[in-house]
Symmetry: C3
Subunit: 220 residues, 3 copies
């Protein structure tokens, strides 16, 4: 089932980095919502593991990596401790959440696509699952924080498109059988940089026809 | 595992129709919440696939149909495009959401019950899973929209009972071995019409003893 | 796969009791939120089954017990009927929710840990999954009620730590091969009593450094 697209240790390392940066984003959100240290740990774990857990359940990889690999579980706890003691001044938190979140987005859309493909899903389905892996944790984070997921809001900068581009690049590399450390890096960095650019230049997606004129008055 | 209760192509077509109408309902909710076009696509996918995805994970049908069948995935995108350009004036949206949602409810409670039964669950469990298939997508839609699921609210018209009746009819037809296109149609239409009647005549379920008198003052 | 740690009937009975008390807690929350009787049943089912369902999906025990065992499914309906007719006066509801929730917490953190271990997870992963089993239903309950999960809030008394202690005790008993009715009882009661003490004496966890001084002004 698992044909050797690239070494497991590379996948593993990338996953750990992605988990760490998403966990930082979750723990910072917990600080912003004024949760306690256990709430921070839960938010870190859910944000970091949520997308991958969903992916593993969908492709039938049980028990999911989140529960079979102690590294996956420990990383968010490390992130929680770091954020607990060192989190920046409150007004700078949102920016930090966004940058870490962008890095996780770039990493997870690529590793999610690759893992789904390894489990036999079609390339199109793999791209969708890669996007779900990348965005799922953040959506769960926002649901736990009782906020409308920022993925969905029109007044937030593009989030799904960078993940879509990164995941599609990975799928193209798989299709042409040129997936390796360098091409993976290209796909990850493309997703990450596109997300940073989307935030920097406030790229936004249109809303439904006839809704735009009434945007200003909309409460949420 | 899959004994031939009725042809797979009938199940498939009904599923596609149910996915389409639920997707319309999800995309319209996204318009009402003022989400952008990607938020519309996510809401359409989640509303349409959520219940079936839950069902497939529970019965162990992995990868779920949502990820192994491109038709399942494409249908909500078609619905998103239609709603994007053609959605009715804002004040008429809620009515349209409700009618499409009722059609999806009728279809999914029946196909969910049948698929669960095909995977070996008892008829009672199949009815429960049929209801979960039908209601799950709408609950996820409301959670993503950061609203109390309308399934739960006392001031909303009956939702679970039409699904229960449709699913139970399907289970009875399975038990008496008379499941076919006509009986499936009867079960689907029964669920759909009951839901429409519940909305037309504002059928409501009682709340807990001693709560009724204080209904008017309740804030939520 | 299933080595005989203790008799299945003991596990089954404990699960049923845990399901019942969590279901009471879910139905009472539904009363507080003014849901109708079907909303009460859904909240009872989700609160009672949510954690176990998540656990079973993660360890690959499909179909989950919630759908293969009619007792698991019926118990929340019994709880719904009881709460429907006999729920205490509104001002006493929150206290009752909390005590029943504590009992469910103690039971589920232990049975979740044991079942995860039986399915081959490491003891550490089993403890984590035991905590998720215990806390998962309550988190889903709060999400459905559109509230910030009380698990995460700094102004709520310790919740995760009692579950952690109960689950760890169970794991230690498994490691030393002394798991039996008496030791299980010790673990369950320890988790339950710790949670009651946490509520009685308002034990709380710290928040992130530098956040404590600004606690009073925080809006959420």
């Amino acid at each position: 089932m698992l044909h050797d697209l690239f070494t497991p240790s590379v996948q593993h390392s990338l996953d750990l980095v992605g988990i760490f940066v998403f966990a930082i984003s979750g723990a910072l959100m917990a600080v912003r919502k004024n949760f306690d240290v256990f709430g921070m740990a839960v938010m870190a774990e859910v944000t970091a593991q949520g997308g991958g857990l969903l992916r593993d359940l969908i492709i039938g990889a049980v028990p999911p990596a989140a529960f079979s690999d102690l590294g996956y579980f420990s990383m968010p706890l490390v992130a929680t401790v770091i954020v607990f003691f060192l989190h920046p001044h409150v007004e700078r938190i949102q920016g930090a959440i966004n940058v870490f979140d962008a890095a996780g987005l770039g990493l997870f859309c690529v590793t999610g696509t690759i893992k789904a493909s390894e489990y036999g899903l079609s390339l199109t389905s793999s791209v969708v699952l890669g996007m779900a892996t990348a965005a799922g944790g953040g959506v769960l984070r926002d649901i736990l924080a009782n906020e409308v997921p920022s993925l969905l809001r029109w007044d937030r900068d593009l989030y799904a498109v960078p993940a879509l581009v990164g995941a599609t690049l990975a799928a193209v590399f798989i299709a042409f059988d040129v997936l390796n450390g360098a091409t993976i890096g290209v796909a990850v960095v493309t997703g990450f940089v596109l997300r940073l650019l989307a935030m920097r230049y406030h790229w936004r997606a249109p809303r439904a026809w006839n809704r735009r004129s009434s945007a200003a008055e909309e409460p949420s």
